[in-house]
Amino acid sequence: MMVDLRINGTVRSAELEPRKTLLDALREDFLLNGTHAGCEHGVCGACTVLLDGEPVRSCLLFAVQADGYEITTIEGLAPAPGELSVIQDAFCETHGLQCGYCTPGMILAAHALLQQTVTPTREEIVEAISANICRCTGYGQIVEAVQFAADRLRIANTPRALLSPGGSK
């Protein structure tokens, strides 16, 4: 069937079999390879995308079901080619990754959290990334990345007058 999807702000259309997951459609039909397949049965989170800003598994959603939502993939986060978002940059700063396979999903999960709050507790960060399995890092530097990004976003959004000398911590 013909499917029109709104992906990273652009409407894209393709003729798809109903059985094709959003994950496969993103990768094969829209050539957005940043969304990864890890298990294809909803456990690992490598395929995470945002649907109207909320993280979901793109392997558990058929592309034909995904019309009418704003779909955000990792490719939609960088502000410009070669430029990183605050969260992406924070992952680089703390080395919140190794092989990079879980990373797009992890960053989208973190992005969704930090859209809700820039003062997350460690528990909130853990909960927000708990659906994304990383086999490389043991999560330590990922949690640090999210904390670091939150700090920077908080500072960025705080009027200068309210920032105590030496930062906002």
């Binding site: 909320e54 993280p55 598994r57 034909v64 079901q65």
Partner: protein
């Protein structure tokens, strides 16, 4: 791991959905898809047609009646988790929702989907059985309803017929002033299905005597179970009475054994979690004001 081919239809009305389902033995409902799609991907389920009910307006929304809260089947679990009506009036549901899968699956997974999937260790069916909820069905002949404990038949088996779909769940609302809930589960990882889960809800009077109590167990048998602990009404839910009631209610509990937990583990832990859930519920109720609105 690709599903076998199927047709996909998205009817405009519930009546049309029922008609599509009734006319086709190989048709299945899809809503959030969080449990169905893995089955499809592994080809453990292979319907010829999926009828997508997710966007049907008749199935959406959370409504409060005089003595119940009606949760539309396609209410997403994450939405229910945040909903003020559910928090206030079906606190047990609000309490367990953070334990259902994890945030991304709750963003898509629906309340009705979890009910229809009938996993014996799932939290939402446990709440439905424990509180004595009613499962509202849409059928070609119009709406029908049945009590949750009749709805669940066995692991992943319900009394739903082809041509019907879960349209809402009617959770009874306790009107007492002082209500508390308790919930515990044991699973290998937080987001995994429970080996054992216990949920309790109690109502206390001003003197902290039990006015009403509901206790349920998940993960132990082939479906969620409500335990009869009505003997606790009138007690102060002291440890001794609770232990007696729970033991009496669970003497001939049938428990399943699998890779993750033995039957004896499940039985033993069931008793303990029941007692802990009751105590947590009691303590939760006891901190509520005895008089006046909550």
């Amino acid at each position: 791991m690709k599903p076998a081919p199927f047709d996909y239809v998205r009817p405009d009305s519930l009546a049309e959905a029922c008609k599509l389902l009734a006319g086709d033995d190989d048709a299945r409902v899809i809503a959030g898809g969080q449990t169905l799609v893995p089955m499809l991907a592994m080809r453990l389920a292979r319907p010829a047609r999926l009828v997508d009910i997710l966007r049907l307006p008749e199935l959406a929304g959370i409504r409060k009646d005089s003595d119940s809260v009606v949760v539309g089947a396609t209410t997403r679990q994450a939405q229910a988790e945040r909903d003020p009506v559910i928090r206030a009036s079906v606190p047990m549901l609000a309490r367990v929702l953070p334990w259902v899968g994890h945030p991304p699956t709750r963003n898509r997974g629906t309340i009705g989907g979890s009910i229809a999937n009938a996993d014996p260790s799932a939290e939402i069916p446990l709440v439905a059985v424990t509180l004595g909820a009613e499962i509202v069905l849409a059928t070609t002949a119009g709406p029908a309803a049945m009590p949750a404990d009749e709805f669940f038949v066995g692991p992943m088996v319900t009394s739903i017929n082809q041509g019907e779909c879960v349209s809402a769940i009617r959770f009874p609302v306790w009107t007492h002033q002082r209500i508390g809930v308790g919930f515990f589960e044991v699973s290998a990882r937080k987001s995994d299905f429970a080996f054992v889960a216990a949920a309790a809800q109690v109502a206390l009077d001003e003197e902290e005597r039990c006015l009403d109590v509901a206790l349920g167990l998940g993960g132990v048998g082939d479906r969620p179970l409500r335990l009869d602990v009505s003997s606790l009404v009138g007690t102060r839910l002291d440890a001794k009475s609770a232990a007696q009631a729970v033991h009496a209610a669970s003497v001939d509990l049938d428990a399943a054994s699998d890779l993750h937990a033995s039957a004896s583990y499940r039985r033993r832990v069931a008793t303990t979690l029941c007692l802990r859930a009751l105590e947590q519920a009691r303590a939760d109720a006891a901190v509520r004001p005895a008089l006046g609105a909550r």
